[in-house]
């Protein structure tokens, strides 16, 4: 560490996407000194920056809000909570207008300002500026690799690596907000390449638990060969088989299992000819990135048929993540808070995807609660600057033996091969899950023993990907039913006894905190 950067702060935020920036701003507004470390660049990193989040947006009319929440509760398969939904609807409504000095909200023809949907690059550029104006110190290109823990188990900061300058950094902090995003298992999903589950692993090593990891089977359609997973245009899609026959795929959203079944039969093609001319003309100014891959391949998506694939989203538009134990988004580790896709979104979406709207409202809200919670925690507990802390990273930073490292590219290919194909992850069976887990467990052990002798992010990412994959399939195996996003071919029905969350903890040999029947916990 002698050549590295050493800082001390009240609150350290890990991740500079939507949730992380809101957390940083909220902590600063509580009077905390804040450092934010992002793996990439705060402003372009994460899945918001290249997307166009429309937030869950309901006016403060009690009847309207009750109806909106009832509707979403009805889709949540019994795992969401009305109070949490009401809280994010309310905070989102109050928060977005405050961004007006930083984001040029448009007015419609009647003069009403439109707050609900923001374009990603402009939104995240605004959030970076907002954070800087609140005095947040941003460390770009600085992935965190591990947490620092006090002897009593409380969090005391984090360590990482500045990947462009090549130095290591350490930030001693009174509290940490984990806002590292979900994990899309290296799927070519727009903006998700950095979302490798690092925060899940770091937090789990500190003793945090994970909930709902079985809800990690969401898929989005994209043109083959591209990562352009913006979904709006596909609302007008017509799908065909290789012979040019129209496929009986219902209109979206939530039609991905139909597309998946068609893809298992052969290539699937798509045309967007149903999109009205007026929308086609507006599209570049609504979503300027959507047409770029088409145009640059010489494809006219409104007249040509183009091949499509499904992109796994893992826990990005999936639901699972770190367990939350209080209204201020604390984990069960003292001083460690969690926000956005790093957290379980069962609270607000249950067993179905929150999609863009609920997830954005969640990121904005949980970010602020976690930031405030972390600042309050520091105010109560102090910095403990003279107490010893220990860096606790394991897999991918501190191999347990002198064994040679496995081949990194092979490890990443293994994760993709087990987590992205729809016949393994979307259409689940006990036999396939056990096969995948056997492969993933072997891979985990190889990383544990020999991976990451240098203090570099790539091995840590690999370890986090494998860890996340294992938690996901363990939970998928334990939930012996189909519920929302979890589809078990061998258990097609819903089991009322499993209308509860499955919570696990531990890294090498995860254990259930939820009581699980003996036969499936193996």
């Amino acid at each position: 560490m002698s050549d590295g950067l050493q800082l001390e702060t009240d609150v350290l935020v890990l991740g500079g996407g939507l949730a992380g920036t809101w957390a940083a701003v909220a902590a600063a507004r509580q009077g905390a000194r804040v450092v934010l470390a992002d793996k990439g660049y705060c402003g372009t990193s994460g899945v918001t920056a290249s997307a166009g989040p429309g937030h869950w947006w309901v006016p403060p009319d009690p009847e309207l809000r009750r109806a909106a929440i009832d509707k979403r509760l009805g889709l949540a398969y019994g795992l969401a909570e009305r109070d949490w939904m009401a809280r994010i609807v309310d905070l989102t409504w109050r928060t977005l207008p405050t961004l007006a000095p930083y984001y040029a909200f448009a007015r419609d023809e009647t003069g009403v300002t439109q707050y609900r949907g923001l374009r990603g690059p402009e939104y995240m550029r605004a959030m970076r500026q907002l954070a800087q104006d609140h005095g947040v110190r941003i460390l770009d290109q600085s992935p965190a690799l591990e947490l620092l823990l006090h002897a009593d188990g409380a969090v005391g900061g984090a360590r990482g690596h500045q990947r462009q300058q090549g130095y290591d950094w350490q930030v001693r902090a009174g509290a940490v907000v984990m806002a590292t995003g979900g994990c899309a298992f290296l799927s070519p999903l727009l903006g998700a390449h950095t979302n490798t589950g690092d925060g899940y692993l770091m937090a789990a090593e500190a003793g945090a638990a994970l909930s709902g990891m079985e809800f990690s089977a969401y898929y989005t359609v994209a043109q083959a060969g591209t990562s352009m997973t913006r979904s709006m245009s596909y609302a007008f899609a017509t799908y065909y088989d290789a012979a040019g026959h129209e496929l009986p795929i219902p209109r979206g959203p939530d039609n991905s299992s139909h597309i998946a079944r068609a893809l298992l039969q052969g290539p699937v093609y798509c045309s967007l000819h149903r999109m009205p001319e007026s929308i086609r003309a507006q599209l570049p100014q609504i979503s300027p990135n959507v047409l770029l891959p088409f145009v640059r391949q010489g494809i006219d998506p409104f007249t040509d048929k183009f091949r499509v694939e499904l992109r796994g989203e893992g826990t990005v538009r999936g639901i699972g993540g770190l367990e939350i134990v209080s209204d201020d988004c604390a984990t069960r580790v003292p001083g460690l808070y969690v926000a956005g896709d790093a957290a379980t979104r069962e609270l607000i979406a249950g067993a179905t995807s929150g999609g863009g709207a609920q997830n954005s409202a969640w990121a904005l809200s949980s970010g602020q609660w976690a930031g405030q919670g972390a600042a309050d925690y520091v105010a109560q507990n102090g910095l403990r600057r003279n107490a010893r802390v220990e860096a606790i990273g394991g897999a991918g930073v501190r191999p347990t033996t002198q064994a040679a490292a496995p081949d990194l590219a092979s490890v990443l290919d293994t994760v993709k091969a087990e987590m992205l194909p729809v016949d393994k992850n979307l259409f689940r069976t006990e036999a396939r899950l056990r096969q995948s887990l056997a492969v993933l467990d072997l891979t985990w052990n190889a990383i544990r023993e020999g991976g990451g002798r240098l203090y570099k992010p790539r091995w840590r990412e690999a370890a986090a990907l494998v860890a996340t994959a294992r938690w996901s399939y363990r939970a998928a195996l334990a939930r012996t039913e189909s519920r929302g996003m979890q589809q078990r071919l061998d258990y097609p029905g819903t089991d009322p006894a499993l209308a509860r969350r499955l919570v696990q903890h531990g890294v090498d040999q995860p254990q259930w905190l939820t009581r699980i029947h003996e036969e499936v916990s193996a």
């Binding site: 920056a49 429309g54 448009a106 462009q164 727009l190 352009m228 149903r274």
Partner: protein, 112 residues
């Protein structure tokens, strides 16, 4: 994936190096940055958006170059196209951010 940076247009400001979320590029002083880790490119187009010189070309495929040349990209109007349509910098007055219309588009799709 990112295919090339035009050294004729690039001023060596290294903004693309700074903003790339997957750290694909490597600065070389005030020369044109090196595309050092193209395999890590996720085709998010952020480098294009932040390049005021319109010097960067990201191709249509995420995992393979398409071989489009600078002459072709210029002829098609692809250099700087994303930044222009986004209404950034000098384009702010000509290309308004109409993202708010997305709700209506979805509603139209449901009704069609």
């Amino acid at each position: 994936m990112i295919e090339w940076i035009s050294s004729d247009r690039c001023t060596g400001c290294n903004q693309c190096v700074a903003v790339c979320p997957t750290n694909v590029l490597q600065a070389r002083g005030d020369s044109t940055p090196l595309i050092a880790r193209a395999d890590d490119c996720q085709s998010c187009f952020m480098c294009e958006l932040y390049c005021k010189q319109d010097a960067i070309f990201v191709g249509g495929l995420f995992d393979a170059p398409t071989g489009v040349t600078e002459e072709q990209a210029v002829a098609h109007g692809w250099l700087g196209q994303y930044r222009k349509h986004s209404g950034w910098d000098e384009w702010a007055d000509q290309y308004a951010n109409e993202h708010w219309r997305m709700d209506r588009v979805f509603a139209l799709a449901r009704a069609s």
